[in-house]
Amino acid sequence: MSIVEFAEEEAERRGSPRVTAVYLRLGAFSGVVKDALVTSFEIACADTKLEGSKLIVEEVPLVVYCSKCAERRAVSSDHWFKCPECGTDMPEILQGKELEVTALELDE
């Protein structure tokens, strides 16, 4: 289900005429590019209860697990899967694949 469809259904269910904002958690490894999402969101909102609404994106960093340090490590683009402390490869992703709607702002 698309973000717009979901938000419209929620608004309908809660008796709201208009959605003014959608809060979204977006992981660094979700496969979705933030700018492209924001642009297409605007287009997808046309002629729906979301027309003119804001998409508020919370970017979630990639967090992987270092088995040597037994620690969670937040990592970024230079070394996605290498422990910044000990240099061990860390293939296990704990966080960063999110693509989820967490809240909606609805007009009464």
Binding site: F29, H79, P91, E98, V101, T102
Partner: protein, 220 residues
């Protein structure tokens, strides 16, 4: 009159529908005893050429079929049908990737219980296919030697989502001065420990190791 606005908390994984359907497909494939392989790559990396070769080589011994996704045209299905295996084209229209629901409806005419292998060729795109589970057992990401060794660094998500990297067009490696060690290093950077195989669909080099990736579930 002023409008009151309220904030409501919800929790909805946007891709949940696809994930649920993909899980159901995976169970169905396992029950049917068919090994399902999907292929992703940029446009022109050689998915169709490799798949045609794959179907031709496996067909002598196994029952194979393929689903192939494209935005438009049935050209790839026509090309793959030369292998003699059943092939179905999935036309996605404006959609830049395959989704589990498209695989499910394309399977309608195929009897998966009577297959050993089903191959799914995704739309040529290194971005969106990463997010959609298709219920496959093995996902191959193809990268041709002509694309540059840094492809994995530019598209880390899709390389990370795949199980095996297949370097294609190895017959051109010398001509384009392909740096195998650099490619390996870049793949390792986005998916540590990823298995890498090198093939040429044209000369057949590397095909034995590549075909060894596919394990039939049914006893012959």
């Amino acid at each position: 009159m002023t409008t009151q606005t309220r904030l409501v908390e919800v929790r909805q994984n946007v891709l949940k529908q696809n994930d649920v359907l993909a899980r159901a497909l995976r169970e169905r494939f396992q029950k049917a005893g068919v090994f399902v392989v999907s292929m992703v790559s940029s446009p022109g990396a050689g998915k169709t050429a490799l798949l045609e070769k794959t179907l031709t080589l496996l067909r002598g011994k196994y029952r194979v079929a393929a689903l192939v996704g494209d935005l438009a045209t049935e050209n790839d299905a026509a090309r793959l049908a030369r292998s003699g295996a059943p092939v179905k084209q999935i036309i996605t229209g404006t959609v830049c990737h395959l989704e589990a629901a498209m695989v499910e409806s394309a399977m309608a005419g195929l009897n998966v219980d009577e297959l050993d292998f089903l191959f799914i060729e995704n739309v040529g795109n290194l971005v969106c296919p990463a997010s959609y589970d298709l219920g496959e057992e093995l996902r191959l990401v193809l990268m041709s030697v002509t694309e540059g060794e840094d492809k994995p660094l530019k598209y880390p998500t899709i390389f990370n989502s795949a199980d095996v990297a297949v370097i294609t067009k190895m017959d051109l490696a010398a001509a384009v001065e392909f740096d195998q060690a650099a490619a390996r290093k870049n793949i390792e950077a986005v998916r540590p420990g990823m298995r890498i195989v090198h093939v040429s669909s044209k000369t057949g080099a590397g095909m034995d190791e590549y075909l060894g990736l596919f394990q039939p579930r049914k006893h012959l």
